[in-house]
Symmetry: C2
Subunit: 578 residues, 2 copies
């Protein structure tokens, strides 16, 4: 992982690839890499779809090694959805494969020739870029089938569906899983639109004959990695809850806590939550011959992924994530697991962020476009997005634009990005993260739900404003560092609760790179990344007034606890005052 | 004009009117009044369509008097289009009538009951508010016919069309002309959506038995007013150009200067400009029995308005303004005056800002929705807006949202509002106003075209960056004061060039109010208003980064002069540094 691949899409005769050494980016990976490149090289006032923006793809520092649960990949750009800096994080195989090929980053830059489309193939021998007009408008799963026929299924793929080609603000970038299904997505913030604006449909990565990356201190690495994996296995969340039920283990928990946003954030409990819980999905999957436990990439110790099949046992989609089940389920008043699974598949196929899509449909329901609970209607809406009809264009632009187009106030967004599956009034720590993260409303940027609801890493009352600032601050700092290493965020459950697992994680990194990083160094790294991101956003036009929730969260009470969001503006402004 | 009428639309049993003295707003009128009320009473972070926003309607300080050309009305709110403070200015009869009824402001406030619609009737005896569900979805001209049957045609009306009811960001508020045609519009910034969000369809103003407002110093007023009117008559722009050809006298002039934005701001000259010039329109109107010279309100000495008729001599619409002719004409490659007139009528009828509509259609053409020059296609697009189809919702949300929905960079907007009919690269003074005005891209906020192109009030080379900051600054200050008095902005041509006309204007105001204001006082008033507006915007989230043109104006050269916008950011930041 000692080189960067730059692809200039404005080169004469089509995109041109150039390899270069890491230079100033040495020692950076994942989110640290994407944010630093965007910070250094992209003018903050540029248009996200214009020639000055760049798309940066970077595996984490630990990718391509034997380190457990470290295959996450970061995709960065100036976001078409938020207008600020974006790191969108995904599982799937691409991070590991790209790291083994030696690339710390692939950077797409320049202005694509109008109406042209290319694909990029990368293996041990180098980079081949070919026109791919025949792939225009192709759905991600069809694309995977076609690429599999061409390259076999042992490769990894990074691709966009029609939504990215149409440059929709809610479009995702798909990453294939170990079975070459384009089911893992860098969904948030519209990175697919930036890839589309660069005229790149797919990047195929083939690590044949490439080896696992070797640690500097092999003994230390091996011992620490064993301890680390053990720690993940022994924590109840990463060792039991997530493997058994996936992330959707949360539906019952968050619903019970009164924080499950229902009917476009109108109430905090959904009467049919039980019908769409992780327990229900897992049972259904087991009954039908699907798979409730599966790894989104090789080398994962948690395996929170799964396979959802229909009544005949045929693959429908990956096990829908909690955020997706919420977005298309409780938020829209839809309680049929098969409908939710179908919507998940459609989003993946078209290349859409399930969170902003579900939120956009919730807003459209609130505006009267269709009724809450109208499952067939919701499916038709996503079909419209895939076809790029005017209504599809509205929804595919995300929840904020949908609210604008239909003239309603109730858009649950921060910095233009839809809130995920926790109502900030009833889970105030995550409300602080939504408000202040440089990414826009994003649960993964500082997952205070852990401490507010799951009581991991301490216990901060979710319904009171006290303690939320510090909680969100510490989690945002830690997350930026974890996202740089490429560890899955879910390791946080174990490292927050188990000191020895945190130490093991540090030693895995230290063993790999021959370092002696301490916990303080991790904090410093996190702060450094957040500072760059905030500085970019400041130059792009953001200030304290944008670190706020929409006013109606302060005005309208949320049942059943009848709470508003009452963390003060003054306190919110202290999150980054460390 | 010694009282304010507040209408609380959230009152039980329907909207409730309360009269109150001017209090802290004494001495304010027009834009000064609207901006001060918004600044004092509206939380800058509120949602424009939410209960905390207010709609403020205020005639200028000189309205309802015998002062020449002083009947403009200001409508203020937090703008659904820009998210910042908004004063949208219109001609028509309402300003004069409202002033004679004694109201310095009507303020709509609170949260309207869902799906209800009301109309307000105001005469010497007071205020009557009645449910108006039967008016739902009614076009402005149909509404005028219905109200005429009910109240006669000597009243004035302030109303919204379907666009305002649908809360579209590009919706206008219509004001009737002397013949009770809803043809004058407070178009910019979406005030119609705010009126719609308050559930008010129409305000009918009847000044029967009310008298002209009396000056404090009648002699002084009378003498000054005569001199003032003479000054307007003797200046070539206000005495000849505008009466003969209307504002569209500018098409040939700006085209010749290479600053007529053509094909969505792709070039500065339109090959068919001659077919849509003011000269062509006036000739057509005269030939067909229309009227090239007409006053938008009684008491106007300039009479730049006109009546456009079809081949049979039947009324089609008012003489389309230059901005409209450009927006639907050159900007879309449409050169048929009858099509442009029809689009103008449709916009007025549906209740839409012609500038943002034309710009949105230009963007849609650039995105390939229809071809440039497709006149029938453009008509169909505006029909879609009127019907509120999804495509209509996109376009009715203005040019910025249209560009977002169709995924293109080239949105000619500042702070979300579409640029009017002067390319900022070839008329750099107006570019400075677009960039820095608290209103978003707005030619009327500081009409540097006067000095750049028409050589009124001096001569500043339009193609060079030098001198533009000072020019725009001085004009923005003067304009804020003129908009407060309710004088038509076009008096600026005469008062900039003719010192004695400026003195006469001052004495008209001084005679009316028994004051002894000097030129310096006018400047202070202008600065005070701009300071409040900027302060509101700052609290709403705007900063220096928003006082910029989109980057592509700095990157792409404009033919025929092959110029970019090269006023530096540092210089732009000096506009309000007085």
């Amino acid at each position: 992982m000692d080189k960067i691949l730059r692809i200039d899409v404005s080169a004469e005769g089509g995109p041109k690839a150039t390899q270069m050494p890491l230079g100033e980016y040495a020692g950076m990976g994942g989110r640290g890499m994407t944010s630093m490149v965007i910070y250094n090289e992209v003018p903050p006032d540029c248009h996200p779809l214009g020639p000055e923006n760049k798309l940066v793809i970077a595996p984490g520092l630990m990718a391509g090694t034997a380190a457990s649960t470290s295959g996450r990949i970061s995709i960065g750009c100036k976001s078409p959805l938020t207008g600020g800096i974006k790191e969108s994080n995904s599982g799937g195989q691409a991070g590991q494969v790209m790291a083994r090929l030696g690339y710390a980053a692939i950077i797409l830059e320049g202005e694509a020739p109008k109406d042209s489309l290319f694909k990029i193939f990368i293996d041990k021998d180098g980079v081949t870029i070919t026109p791919a007009d025949e792939l225009k408008g192709m759905l991600n799963y069809d694309l995977a089938d076609k690429m599999k026929a061409e390259y076999g299924e042992k490769v990894a793929m990074i691709s966009i569906g029609p939504a990215g080609e149409m440059k929709m603000s809610a479009s995702s970038i798909a990453i294939t899983d170990p079975e070459f299904r384009p089911s893992r997505h860098a969904g948030r913030g519209g990175p697919g639109a930036v890839m589309g604006s660069k005229g790149i449909k797919a990047i195929i990565l083939d690590d044949k004959e490439m080896k696992m990356r070797k640690p500097v201190d092999s003994e230390k690495f091996k011992a620490a990695n064993k301890l680390f994996a053990q720690g993940l296995k022994q924590h109840p969340v990463t060792g039991e809850g997530l493997p058994a039920f996936g992330t959707n283990v949360l539906t019952n928990v968050v619903n019970e806590a009164g924080g499950l946003p229902t009917y476009n954030f109108k109430q905090g409990r959904y009467e049919d939550a039980g019908k769409i819980s992780g327990e229900t999905f897992a049972e259904l999957e087991t009954q039908r011959g699907g798979k409730p436990t599966h790894a989104c990439h090789r080398g994962c110790a948690i395996q929170c992924s799964g396979i959802f099949v229909d009544k005949e046992g045929n693959y429908v989609t990956k096990q829908p994530e909690y955020e997706t089940v919420w977005a298309h389920g409780a938020n829209c008043g839809i309680s049929d697991p098969d409908v939710i699974a179908r919507l998940d598949f459609m989003d993946d196929n078209i290349g859409l962020d399930t969170i902003d899509m579900g939120a956009a449909i919730g807003v459209a329901m609130d505006a009267g476009v269709i009724e809450f609970g109208d499952a067939e209607g919701a499916i038709k809406l996503v079909e419209e997005v895939g076809k790029g009809t005017p209504l599809g264009r509205i929804l595919g632009s995300g929840a904020a634009t949908t609210a604008r187009a239909f003239g309603i106030e109730r858009a649950p967004v921060v910095k233009g990005q839809a809130m995920p599956a926790y109502d900030p009034r009833a889970v105030k720590g995550i409300g602080v993260t939504y408000a202040t993260s440089p990414m826009g409303a994003d649960h993964t940027a500082g997952y205070a739900v852990a401490t507010n609801i799951l009581k991991v890493g301490g216990d901060v009352d979710p319904l009171k404003p006290e303690g939320q600032i510090e909680l969100s601050r510490n989690l945002q700092i830690a997350t930026a560092a974890i996202d740089t290493c490429g560890f899955c965020l879910f390791i946080a459950f174990a490292i927050l609760d188990q000191e020895e697992t945190f130490g093991a994680m540090l030693d895995v990194v230290n063993g790999m790179y021959g370092l002696s990083m301490t916990g303080d160094d991790v904090v410093d790294l996190g702060k450094k990344i957040l500072t760059m991101e905030r500085e970019f956003n400041k130059k792009a036009g953001f200030n304290a007034t944008h670190d706020r929730l929409p006013r109606y969260f302060k005005r309208e009470e949320l049942a059943p606890h009848n709470v508003t969001f009452d963390v003060s503006d003054e306190d919110l402004d202290q999150v980054f005052n460390w």
